[in-house]
Symmetry: C2
Subunit: 318 residues, 2 copies
């Protein structure tokens, strides 16, 4: 008998088919910045991504927590309207991560990684998730990303995120993932590591040869670069007065992007670019506070207003 059990406490219509599914890690984080230190925060790639996506689309979460996972965090997921049919709970402790940011609030050192229940995680898609059109394979082992991809019956647009760990240690599986998705997102240093090319433009072009139609290279506070055969797009970061905690920015960016794309329903030049701007805007709110604190109180009208401000800052003509 498996130690895992599916949680069945989903808010509202449990049998509703989900247009968007996100898989990734769920963690309890300790984070230190030069200004502040916070402990036992709700974190993990799927937490950030689902919270951001939920502003735009119904979203199903695929992840795992331990028996120690605080009830208030489950409650936070529900308050944000995240579907939890795909959330597993297993005997043991939840994945824990601890990191410390440098003075630049960009570079960070990982102080601790405890896999805990994550070590034996095998993501399974509930029936209601298997017809999702939009799928985000958050930053987890490529073998698990592949497994989820296979369980999805007819995805229309699949995004995969990754990190240096998988590029270094499980490259063959990662390359298989990359060859099967529509979009790969990764940060600038990871793009260089994956391709061996320093120029981000060259690196992105090389990654297109691996299979995806779109590559998004994330540059933190400097925005992102979309490269595709249908043209490139410079995704600006919203210039913030203050960044309090950059953790999860890339996950919020990807989550809001795919949520907005799922809401648009069709994938074309305009909807992709618009959705990338939503990603940038939601991430800019997210880093204003620790964990999901800002997203938990964020209103759609604030997103719309900041998107308008961002577009005004990109516009040459009146």
């Amino acid at each position: 008998m498996s130690m895992r059990k599916q949680t069945s406490k989903t808010a509202g219509a449990a049998k509703q088919k989900l247009p968007l599914v996100i898989v990734g890690s769920i963690g309890v984080d300790d984070i230190a910045t030069p200004f502040e230190r916070r402990t036992s925060l709700l974190g993990g790639s799927v937490s950030y991504a689902c919270a951001a996506a939920a502003f735009f689309s119904p979203v199903g979460m695929v992840g795992i927590v331990g028996t120690d996972f605080p009830a208030k965090y489950l409650e936070a997921y529900r308050r944000m309207g995240i579907d939890l049919q795909g959330l597993q709970q297993a005997e043991g402790r939840t994945f824990r991560w601890s990191g410390e940011y440098d003075a630049d609030m960009i570079n960070r050192r990982t102080l601790l990684t405890e896999l805990n229940v994550f070590e034996t995680f095998m993501p399974e898609l509930p029936e209601a998730y298997r017809d999702a059109s939009f799928l985000l394979l958050g930053n987890i082992a490529p073998s698990l990303q592949l497994h989820v991809l296979k369980e999805c019956r007819r995805p229309k647009f699949v995004v995969a995120d990754t990190m240096d760990l998988w590029i270094k240690n499980t490259r063959a599986a990662l390359m298989k993932v990359i060859s099967r998705v529509d979009m790969l997102t990764l940060n600038d240093s990871e793009a260089r590591l994956l391709t061996g090319l320093y120029s981000l433009r060259k690196a992105a072009s090389r990654i297109l040869e691996y299979g995806p139609r779109y590559v998004v290279i994330k540059k933190g506070e400097h925005g992102a670069l979309l490269v595709s055969h249908a043209g490139n797009f410079l995704v600006p970061a919203f210039p913030l007065e203050d960044v309090r905690d950059p953790t999860g920015a890339g996950d919020m960016f990807a989550g809001a992007f795919l949520g907005a794309l799922a809401k648009a329903g069709t994938v074309n030049r305009r909807t992709v670019r618009e959705a990338l701007l939503y990603g940038s805007v939601v991430a800019s709110f997210g880093v204003e506070s620790f964990s999901l604190d800002r997203l938990l109180v964020l209103k759609r009208v604030e997103i719309a207003r900041r998107l308008g401000e961002l577009k005004a800052m990109m516009r040459v003509e009146r």
Copy 2:
């Protein structure tokens, strides 16, 4: 008797009134990158800025060289159509600078600075320059920038650039310059040094309080941020395949900006933003080669084409 003499060998109509005047340093540079080492290059802020501005507008150069200044470099200025009535030549050696770039091609160490004839430089505006509408006070001592500003009878739009040296050592004079110009350009670390504020957006807002209507914070390969009471603008950098020598990028940016603004003739939201994009584009060409090598063979049609590409990468709607 002064050791200085005015060069009188200007190309074409010597008495033509110049709409745009640029003052700054002229140097002979030795530059090393991780990939290449080059010596005795034509450099200096006014060389880069005038070369970039000359694509758009007649421009007068105010600077100083020594008797060792290679004739081929004077010839290069003339080939680019730069007016040299304001160029002084003095007994002694030309200003020399030597620097070495890190692997990131952004951070650099200064290996040598020899002021030489620059030490006693006192910029003087020829009569044909004194009615210039557009003035760029390139990166030189604030006292000299002030002197040039006073010699200009009715400038319509004045831009000043500066650097950490002046912020640290001659802050009072620099603040006087800042209070009297329309736009200050400086890089991100300099904005933080000048204001003591880490957030670039806060730093820019503080600088607006010092007097200018516009502040442009340069972020190297990540573009620039325009902050003004009339709104902010995210100036993207053109994503390049290769950067060969980033020296002078900020000067080319400022020179092409002001050249394009002078060409437009009027200063408004649209012309300022368009001119900033020209600055970004010309700088992106300039860093593809050492010294002015790329600008010397650059064609206007190439600038127009890359501007079109850049705008396409900024556009959300079709």
